[in-house]
Structure formats: C-alpha cells, structure tokens
Amino acid sequence: MTDISRILLFMVGCIFTHNVVFDRMLGVHDAGQPRRFETSVIYGVAVCIVMTLSAVCCWAVQTLLLAPMHMEYLQIIAFSLVVVAVTALTQLCVSKVKPEWMETLDNCLMPIAANCAVLGIAIVNAEAGYTFGYALLSGLCGGLGFLLAIVLLAGVYEKLEFAKVPEPFKGMPIAVISAGLIALAFIGFKGIA
C-alpha cells in the first residue's frame, strides 16, 4: 500500500466510513438543528475550519505540554480552553474576511465551541496517538464529514418542511429519525478503511 493510497483511504474513512455525525455520533445536537440550505453550508464550513485548527492546536498541546509533563488528566480542561480560543479567533477572522457570512450565522460562532464534534475529534486524536499529519488530516476530514452531514440533513429537512409529519413527531424526533435513516445508508461504506 503506497503512502498516497493509505492517506487517501484514511481521508475517505474519516469523511464517509467513520463520519463524525453518523458513525461517531458527535455533534448530533448541532446537526439536528433545522436550518436552511445556505446557512447549513456556511455553518459547516465554519465548523470545518474550527475543527481543523483545534485538532492541530490540541495535538500541539498534547505532545508538547501534557505528555512530557505527565499531566494528561488536565486534558479536558486544556482542550476545552484551546477549542474556545480557536473559536474566538475564527470568529474574529471570519467577521473581517467575510462579514456577510456572519449575518447568516447571526454573528456568533460560539455554539461551535459547544459542539461535541470539535472537542471529540481532538480527544480521539490524542488517544489514538496520531502524528501531526494524521491529526491534521483527521481534523480536516472530520470537519468535511460534518459539513457533508449538515448539508445532507438540511436538504432532507427542506423536503420535510411540507411533509405531513404526525403531530408528536414534528421537529426534533423526525430530524433524529432522518439522521438515523441517513446513517443506515452510510453503513454501506463500512469496510472502506
């Protein structure tokens, strides 16, 4: 297996097979929120950026700070701090570079810090002991997987908007069942990496 195909398979694995939302079940609360298609694309890209940066920073904190000083138990607090810092940083950059994006996200990126997927991927990287390259790839592909999941869910949600969903199932229950059916389709990728 040459290097390229191993990396390629790892990326396909992170985006499709072990999709952050449908297989690792992280960030489900954010993905489940009903959104229009455009907002979901922008929110997904923002989460992807934050996830990649925080994966890299958390890897740095883990290997440079926590491991040598055997303070792994502080991992949760350190990683949370890093995630919050990265989100604030991204919010600053996005509001400068693309102000119109901020309107669609009602100009607050903080919910991304509260997204389980971002912290989850960071912790998974730390536990799996990835090298820097793999940590970066896993963060980036995790983000792309989250973007894919959110876009699919938004597409399905817009179709459900006019569906005659029974009264008790309106809103969150039907969104969770839709995510379940999409996850059922994603099982097909099992075995690819």
């Binding site: 449908f22 297989d23 690792r24 079940m25 992280l26 960030g27 489900v28 609360h29 489940g32 138990y73 502080l74 991992q75 949760i76 607090i77 990683f79 949370s80 701090l81 995630v83 919050v84 604030a88 903080m110 919910p111 810090a113 509260a114 997204n115 389980c116 971002v118 912290l119 989850g120 912790i123 998974v124 536990e127 029974p166 009264e167 008790p168 199932f169 969150m172 229950p173 039907i174 969104a175 969770v176 069942i177 995510a179 379940g180 059916l181 996850a183 059922l184 994603f186 099982i187």
Partner: protein, 199 residues
Amino acid sequence: MDNRTSNGILAGNPLFRLGLGVCPALAVTTCASAALGMGVATACVLVCSSLVAFVLGKVVSEKGTVATWIMVTACFATVAQFILKGWFPELASELGIFVPLIAVSSLLLSRADFASNNSLGAAMGDAVGMGIGYIIAMTLVGIVREILGQGTLFGSDLLPFTPMTLVALPAGGFIVLGLLMGCWNAITAKKNGKEETQA
C-alpha cells in the same frame, strides 16, 4: 421548587422533549448499565455546574457566557472522570471518550444559561429535575437498545429471536431515539392536554 422538578422529568424532559444531550444518549446507550452510569454522571455534573453558574451568573458578561460555562463544565467533567476511573473503572472504560465530552454537552450549557439568570431555588429545582429526567430517559433508551440489540438486559438473556445488530449500531440508535421521542411526545401531550413546556 417541585413544579420545576416535575417539569424536568415529564413535560420538559431534556432528552426527549428538548433534545439536549443527544450525543452521549446515542453512543453510550448500547447497554443499560452504561446508560445509567452516564445519566448519573451527567446529572451530578449538571447540578454542580448549575450551582456554579448561578453564582457566576451576575459576574459574567453576556457575550462571554458560553466560554465560561464550558470552562466550568470542563472542570467538573475532569472531577467526574477521576471519580469514575477511581471507583468504577470498567464503567469508565465503557464510556470511553464520552465522559470528557460531558464538558460540552448541550444539556449542561443550556441549563447553565437558565440557572445564571434565575433564582437559586428555580435553578436548583430545574437542575435536579433535568438530572433525574435525563437519567430516566437515558436508562429507558439503554434498556430498549440493549433488549433489541444484544438480547440481554443487565446481562441476563431475554430475546427469543436473534438480536437485531442494527439497534446496537449508531444508525439504530438514531432511529430508536427518534421513535422514543415521538412516543414520549404523544404520551405526555395526551396526558396533560396541550400545556406548553417551559424550556
């Protein structure tokens, strides 16, 4: 005090009605014992973080709330991880990465927001109510998924036909949780008429 608690359990059940804390609810509930453990751990962290959130409520500015709540819950999550690793090692290994993830659970953050701008009594009542409601919900999902998924309940064999491995997988988790949410809405809506839930 008590109507807040009862609201937390039935009408305003965090998992089924408000859809909070869904991530751990899907991942961990493949077996009922782990679900119960997770529910209790989350409930304890919830009560503590609501208390601290109430105290800090006046101090923290409006913009920085999310960041502070994350820090608060991160500390309590670390404490919870210590306790679990120390006294219930096999439960800790089962829960895996979801104990640290209590730090960013949407349940804790929304209750912290609620606690920060309400009276102490309301905050505590709500935290306890939500905690108990969450435990009930998690255990219910855990029981259903364990019976259908593994065919056992707390270890004892139960299911006549071969278990449905889908229910143990994430996809099955979503579907079972969605169905339970729907049934819960149907039951609670029918029971107390159309009374609106206080989020």
